[in-house]
């Protein structure tokens, strides 16, 4: 099975060919947005982190932002910083340059303020457009694909059809030598014993139990009941009663292969196969984390029909809810509701998702891409100073 991708200098393949303007810090967002208005063919990646953060939280933001820049779907990156922040544009550009892709830092205070910075940024973007726009796709194997998987706006059809069918597509990628990363730690609570049985070794199982325990302890420390936040009101309206029920359905989206590792949020895996990424279920943070791990494409299994997307990775929306498939055609790429109704098998549904994945990898524009839906939101785990 062959895919068509854009070969990058480090030997990886992108399935999109974007130039991105990446803010290193929230204070630089205005500059990134202004450049984005001047150059509408370029992605603008803004967020709220990058300064006033401590320890592990700062490291996580730096790792995630660097990971986004390294994603093979980005052919070139202009990193915009102010010059006074803790996660600097120069640091991120240096990290991203390990992939040997075209990357430039733009530091507003060093350039002498906003107007000179915009002029310098414009010059870089012209150079990038000249270099990137003539690039063409070439054949590559399925082993070059890192597939991210997320579920959202879950209802009871997710556990019946869209999650297990997505898992079958995931198995095909792993079997072909590719990489699959799924996550959402709160949605393992109550199902960790099932997932841990598939861990490749004891260390992986222990790390999985560890991240789930930390997640549940955070809830307990807050003195609150997880219910209301997760399952969210939309999940409860869709028939999901408890976090355990949601989790037991949610873990099916990762398929049935051995779990090779548990990644930190936004961590790029070493090696191929199936990985779990620690992180929240909340959609913008979950999708951002998956894009930062290097996922070039993300499958999003949904009951209620979220429009969610990622600016970097095309997101394929799959639903097993027949009402959602009918009502929200603008959001849904693959309808597997016939499997919910018992009229087609999970294997057939998995094959339909896999075929859509191949089409999207070859350039078919997903519903979330058509709608221009999606933003960067980095999972923040510490106080802002």
């Amino acid at each position: 099975m062959e895919l068509l991708g854009f070969e990058r200098p480090d030997g990886s393949y992108g399935f999109r060919n974007h130039i991105a303007i990446l803010s290193s810090v929230g204070c630089a967002n205005d500059v990134s947005l202004r450049l984005g208005r001047m150059y509408p063919n370029v992605l603008v990646l803004t967020h709220r982190q990058g300064c006033g953060q401590l320890g592990a939280d700062k490291e996580q933001s730096a790792r995630t932002l660097a990971g986004l820049g390294k994603n093979p779907n980005l052919a070139a990156v202009l990193v915009v910083g102010m010059g006074c922040e803790s996660i600097t544009a120069k640091y991120l550009a240096e990290e991203i340059s390990r992939t040997k892709k075209m990357v430039e830092p733009l530091v507003v205070l060093e350039e002498g303020g906003l107007m000179p910075a915009l002029a310098k940024g414009a010059k870089f973007l012209h150079q990038m457009l000249d270099a990137v726009s003539p690039m063409r796709r070439i054949p590559c194997g399925l082993k070059e694909l890192t597939l991210g998987i997320k579920c959202g706006l879950t209802d009871t059809t997710s556990g019946i059809a869209s999650n297990p069918a997505t898992g079958m597509a995931a198995d095909k990628i792993v079997d072909a030598g590719g990489t699959v990363i799924f996550g959402e730690t709160p949605e393992v609570i109550g199902a960790e014993h099932i997932l841990a049985k598939r861990a490749a070794n004891r260390e992986v199982a222990e790390k999985l139990y560890g991240v789930v325990k930390i997640c549940e302890e955070r809830v307990r420390a807050s003195g609150m009941d997880i219910r209301g936040a997760n399952p969210a009101p939309g999940n409860i309206a869709g028939g999901i009663t408890s976090i355990e029920e949601k989790s037991l359905g949610a873990i099916k989206k990762g398929g049935n292969r051995a779990l090779q590792g548990v990644l930190d949020y936004g961590e790029i895996p070493r090696g191929k196969g199936l990985f779990f990424m620690d992180g929240p279920g909340r959609t913008p943070e979950a999708l951002t984390g998956l894009s930062a791990t290097g996922a070039q494409i993300i499958i999003f299994s949904t009951g209620g029909g979220s429009p969610a997307g990622s600016p970097i990775s095309p997101v394929i929306k799959v639903t097993g809810n027949p009402h959602t498939a009918q009502r929200l055609q603008d959001h849904i790429d693959v309808d597997v509701s016939s499997t919910t109704r018992g009229e087609s098998s999970l294997e057939e549904a998995g094959e339909r998702i896999f075929q859509e994945l191949l089409r999207v990898a070859a350039g078919r524009v997903t519903k979330a891409e058509r709608l221009g839906y999606g933003m960067v939101s980095v999972w923040n785990v510490g106080p802002h100073m």
């Binding site: 209802d155 009871t156 059809t157 556990g159 019946i160 709160p186 609570i189 109550g190 199902a191 099932i194 549940e216 809830v219 307990r220 420390a221 807050s222 003195g223 609150m224 009941d225 997880i226 219910r227 997760n230 409860i236 869709g238 028939g239 009663t241 408890s242 976090i243 355990e244 029920e245 037991l248 359905g249 009951g303 809810n321 009402h323 919910t340 109704r341 018992g342 009229e343």
Partner: protein
């Protein structure tokens, strides 16, 4: 088209694949030759008890515990947040 699905033979709940009204009979329940008679109006995607679940008894779906019944739930009644308590993620 099936009207409900039981995910595992250990389960004491089924997930509805259609809206139901009181008095409807659901026939897609393994081991229930006469079906399960619905006791109240319940929407698509929600769960019904396919046998009596005692107060404090585990509610089982996918063959796994998804919570404990906070009151007795009669066969054919709605099983949801009003009568099931999660046992995880509680402060």
């Amino acid at each position: 088209m099936r009207k409900a699905i039981v995910m595992d033979n250990k389960d004491n709940v089924a997930t509805l694949l259609t809206d139901v009204e009181e008095g409807d009979v659901i026939h897609d329940i393994p081991g229930k030759a006469g079906g399960v008679q619905i006791q109240q109006k319940i929407p698509f995607g929600h769960k019904i008890a396919i046998r009596k679940i005692g107060r404090g008894e585990a509610v089982v779906k996918y063959g796994e515990v998804i919570g404990k019944a906070s009151e007795e739930i009669a066969e054919g009644r709605h099983v949801h947040v009003h009568n099931v308590e999660s046992v995880r993620g509680r402060g």
